[in-house]
Every structure is written in structure tokens, then in C-alpha cells.
């Protein structure tokens, strides 16, 4: 018998399968919201922007949200894999800190997300962006990374042109990106 995995408390499915217990305890066991989320096949990293401008990602749960969204088929289980995670500040120093920011292109409805921790320079970032938002050829103009005007919103809420500050400083203060046409 396949063991159903998920963040739902274990009693629910097992009880149903083993034919035990009452309806009452089954409903007590089930955390429906999470179950529905994790038992579906997860989507590739392309997200429909439901509500353009709000800042929903950046709270204490932001890392967890990233895990859910960037879940490539394996479910998020409590305490698995068995690595020690500090309850205070997880992944302090050393471990790779996933740093995902939303990217929108002017005039394009569907936004993307890019993980800045996988990039070590502006060049690398522009390459990724040009792959995410390929430029339509028009009038024989060549498409290359340099033509993009990319702006970013920093931690103070100001919109700045990407490329002015050292990469390290940028990657730590950037909240989201916008590509201008």
C-alpha cells in the first residue's frame, strides 16, 4: 500500500485505508488546506500575476512560500530531509540562501521569478532574463542582453536602474525587477 505523504496529520489517510475509526476523528485529522495544495501536481516556475503590485512574498513565511512554489514534484515534509535547521535563523551563513524575486516585463501579463542566489554577476542575470523574456526581432535589430533596461525596487521602495551598485549589495537589497521596453 502506497503511503500517502503530505503535511496533513497522518491519521486521516491511514484511518480511511485501514477502515478504522469514525468520521469524527478523520475530520479532526485532516488539515484540508495543506492537503489540497500538496497533493496536486506542482507547477513549473511560471506564475500568473493575480494581483499586480502587492508585496505578498516578503514576510516571515517567504522562504516557505518559495519552497511551495518552487516545489518541483517532491513534497515538503516536516523534518525531511534530516538536516538540522536552526529554529531561530535557518540557513545562517554558509548554506545557500535562496533569493527569489519577481520579474515583470512592461506590457507582459505573466511574470516570472528568478533566483538571484544562482547568479554571481549582472551578466549572468541578464542572460537569464533574456532567456525568460526573449526579445521579438523587429526591423533587424539584434537582440542581446545589453539592450534591456532593467529596473529594480530596493528595500527602501525606490526604483533604480540595475547595474549601478556592486552585485553583492544589489542582490541583498533588491525586492523585485521590472524590465522596461
Amino acid at each position: 500500500m502506497e503511503l500517502e505523504l503530505g503535511l496533513a496529520l497522518p491519521g486521516g489517510d491511514l484511518i480511511a485505508e485501514l477502515g478504522l475509526a469514525s468520521e469524527k476523528s478523520t475530520s479532526m485529522c485532516r488539515k484540508r488546506g495543506f492537503d489540497d495544495m500538496f497533493c496536486r501536481a506542482t507547477s513549473p516556475p511560471l506564475f500568473v500575476q493575480k494581483d499586480g503590485d502587492d508585496d505578498d512574498g516578503e514576510d516571515d513565511d517567504s522562504r516557505f512560500n518559495h519552497l511551495q512554489e518552487l516545489n518541483l514534484g517532491s513534497r515538503v515534509l516536516v523534518g525531511w530531509p534530516p538536516v538540522r535547521v536552526s529554529r531561530r535563523k535557518s540557513e545562517e551563513g554558509g548554506k545557500r540562501r535562496v533569493n527569489c524575486v519577481k520579474v515583470n516585463m512592461e506590457g507582459v501579463a505573466i511574470g516570472r521569478k528568478v533566483d538571484l542566489s544562482l547568479h554571481d554577476s549582472y551578466q549572468a542575470l541578464f542572460l537569464t532574463l533574456s532567456q525568460m523574456f526573449p526579445k521579438k526581432q523587429h526591423d533587424g535589430e539584434e537582440s542581446d542582453a545589453a539592450y534591456y533596461k532593467v529596473t529594480y525596487e530596493d528595500e527602501d521602495g525606490d526604483w533604480m536602474l540595475v547595474g549601478d551598485v556592486p552585485w553583492e549589495a544589489f542582490s541583498q537589497s533588491v525586492k523585485r525587477l521590472k524590465i522596461l521596453n
Binding site: 497522518p10 517532491s74 548554506k95 535562496v98
Partner: protein, 580 residues
Amino acid sequence: MVRGFGWAAAFPDEVWEHVFSFLAADADRNAVALVCRAWHRIERRSRRRVFVGNCYAVAPAAAVRRFPEVRAAAIKGKPHFADFNLVPTDWGGGAEAWVEAMAEGWPHLEELRLKRMVVSDDCLELIARSFKNFGVLSLVSCDGFSTAGLAAIAANCRNLRELDLHENEVEDNCLNWISHFPESFTSLVSLNIACLEGDVNTSVLECLISRCPNLKTLRLNHAMPLEKLVSLLQRAPQLVDVGTSKFSADHHPELFSKLESTFAGFKHLKSLSGIWEAGPTYLPAIYSVCESLTSLNLCYATIQSPELLKFVSRCKNLQRLWVMDLIEDNGLIAVAASCKLLQELRVFPSDPYGVAPPISLTEHGLVAISAGCLMLHSVLYFCRQMTNAALLTIANNRPNLTCFRLCIIEPHTPDYISQEPLDAGFSAIVESCKDLRRLSLSGLLTDRVFKSIGASANRLEMLSVAFAGDSDAGLHYILSGCKNLRKLEIRDCPFGDKALLDNASKLETMRSLWMSSCSVTLGACRQLALKMPRLNVEVIDERRGRPLESWPDDFPVEKLYIYRTVAGPRSDTPPCVWTV
């Protein structure tokens, strides 16, 4: 020949005491104590070291009373799975009861080591005040205290030699706790503050280091900038064990050469750790120590493979290597070629939750190590794929393995070539490695692997199982075999009541059993508790609601922790824990 046990009186007590002093192992001393009353008396009065593997297995007062002359105590609290947040934070493991009993009964205590316990600042203050000759404090994976508690230790323990803080959750409310070491304090031999998050006053630390000529171990925390680290280390060229702070900074040729000359000055360095966030810039500065290193911990260093490879392959005398999977198969192949004295390897996942593109670390790396490192006996390996063939090769290459912990990150992963369960592979491990003491399983596994383990793993003491097995038979095989099993921890397996009840008496021969997300019902727990009065059967359920008594027998148990004890049910259970 004197008849009966009268021969014990043929020698004065001091002679027997002297004889017993050659028995290092607790098991031997325990055996001696059972021979006759005289030996029991002599042994207990002369025992100097006590190890309590489960703080609830015996009442503190009883332990202190039985062994009045103890100088060194080690106590463990929470179950191992607490490391992975499976145990509620308020479950227990508080140190107060023990510290209070020890303060009263062991005034000459010199060493105290606590693991996975909740230690309050009050506890630390009591320790600081109660033991005049206190020399060693080691706190591993503990929580509940702050740097204010550490200040009390620093201020009052005049003869402190070792302060070892390893992976604790410490609240930072006393920034200058290091300055509480008095000016007259010079006895420090080992200081490990790697787990502290806050800044430490570098100049105070420099003074401390300068006046402690016997300092051999210094492990700093992440917060200290590289320049400060360098000036600190320059004061202690006699160090044998160094844990650096953050190892990255913008490139400055002057800093580079200072770092280089500092490390070149370490004539006795054997162990290196820390190296947080190291980049390729500064790592070459410390190549000079590679040859002498026997222990290297790079599991906080996000260095990519080429630099990592360059560094590690210079460490020809390495015995212990802890590293991230960023080393990749190529790196491990290089290690297998260069580090012929390697005994212990741990490879940690740089990206456990799979959000980044996969790393090229597979079963090949481990196979290479098993072939090239003849002295390898301890392995912890996180990877994403495995085959039975690879495990078989490893088993044949390294029958001297004593610890084999394999974690294939995705649960239920089969042999990726044959698509079969990994039963054959793990069976080969337990059949070939006759001295295996610790084993962690992962991947797709049926009941068959448990049959092999039960039959062959005669020296196995600790077994960790997750997402494995088909039925109760799996658990039954383990509990009815594995003669020396002490700790068993299981999560998300279809193991239930029958195997548990059929093997109830086995549980009293073990230290503890943890089962979570399995198929055990409350009724079985009740039966077990009734049948085995010397076991504490703790049902842990964080949903709370109605008290345990009102739940029906068929109620599924979320988490179960069973341990043998002579102290009866504990009195400090939180709301989410019921002793059945």
C-alpha cells in the same frame, strides 16, 4: 581457594579500587558491580565518570546517591529526531532536576556534558556557583539559555578549561559576556563559540587569548570579520584546532598576506572548521596547513568544486572530512586518490529542498571513496540517486564500516537503473559489515531489507528508518533480531500494533524507541504500558483537545516515544505528552 565470595575480603578495598580504575567502559564497571555486595560497594564509591543516555531513565537523586564520588557526568535529553523539529519544543529534557541534584550531591564535579537538553540561565548560574573545581562545560544541541548565563560561567568558574558550545540555540542578551572572565583567569584550553550569533568583542577576546598559554582549541562564530580574525589568531600560534569566522571579504593583498603568514605560523594545527561563506579569494592563503590537517569541516563553506577540490586534495593526512555536496563526484574521486588515511566522511546537501538545479553528486562519489580509502569506517551521505550495484560495491570494498547513514533525499526513490527497491543493496551492507553499529536507511525499501537487518546486524546499536517497509513484518524482523539494538527511530512507515506488542520485552533491552506517522493505535500503547511497567510509553499529540483517557483504543497515535526507566512516569510532561 576461599569458598563463596569470601575471596573479595582477601584484599583491602583500596586494592580493588585500583584494579577497577583500569576499567574504562561503563559496561565493565556495571558488570563488576553485580559480582558481590563488596564489589558493588567498592565500585560505586570509586566510580568517577557517569553517562546517562536518557535523562528520564533514572531519577537524578538516585544516580547521585549511588555514585557519590563522580567527577565527570554526561547526560542526554531529547530524542534524536528533535534535531529535525519532530519533537515538540516543550516536550521536556529540562536540566534543572539534574543540576540541582548534582549541586547537592557532587560538589567536586569537574566536567558536565549535556546534549539535547533545555538548560536555563538559572541552571548555568547554579553550575557556576556550586562546583569549586569546575573545569569542563559542554553543551551540545541545547537551548533555553542566553549569553547572560555564559557570563555567569565566565565570571565564577576560576579553573574552567573547556567551554564547548556546539549547535545550541543561544539567546544573545549579554553582548560582553566574554569580558566576565576575570583578568586572573588563565586556564582556558578549549573555547568553542561557533554557534553564537552575536558579535563578540574582539579586543576582549584578544586579551583572553593572550593570557591563556594553554589554549589549544579556538572555534569562533560567524560574525567576526576576517581582518579581526587574523589579528586574533596571530596571538595563538600554538593552536591545534581552529574554527574560523566568515572567510570572505573583498580582495586586499595586505589582508591576504597577513592571513597567509598567520596560518603559516600554525605549526601544530590539526583541525580546521568554520570557513563560512568562503570564496576562491582567500582559501589559497591557508594552503600551508593542509598537509598537517587530520580533521576538516567545510560544511558551511559554499565553495564550488574546483577550489574545493584544490584545497582538499592537498590534505593528504585527513582522517575526517565534513563537506557539502558542492564537492561533487569529481571532488570525491580526487579525495579518494589523495586522502588515503580518511576514516570518516560526511557529505551534506547544499540545497536540501531542491529549489536549485541539481548538483553532480551521485553514488559514484561514494563508491570511489569506498574503493580508495581503506580506513573508511564512518559515512554520512546525502544524495539524490542510488543503485543496488553501488551499495554492493561499497559493502564489498569496506566491510570495516561501523557507521553507514545514507539519505536519498526524495522518499521512496528506487534503484534508478533497475527501478527496484534498494533492499539488495542495504542487505549487502549489513551482511558484509559485521561491525556495523549505526545504520540509517532511505530510498524505496520493502520488508525484505528488515529481514536481512534483523538476521545479520548483530552489532547494530542504532537504526534510523524513514518511509520504508510494507507491513508490520518489517518492524517485527528488527525487534526480534538485532541483538544489540539500543536506539530505534522510525518515521512514516506502515508499522503497527502487532509487531510492537509481540516484541514488548525487547523494548526493555533498548534505551528508546521513537515512532512517528506510523500505524500504532492508542489501544496498543495502553496494552504495552500495562504489560511493561518499567517502560514509559509516551504518546505525543500536538492537536490536544480532549484528554487521553477519553480517546478510544483505535485512535491513531501521531508520535510515540518509548523508553525504559527505573524512575517511573515523569512529572514534567507538557500538555501535548501523555504517559500511558
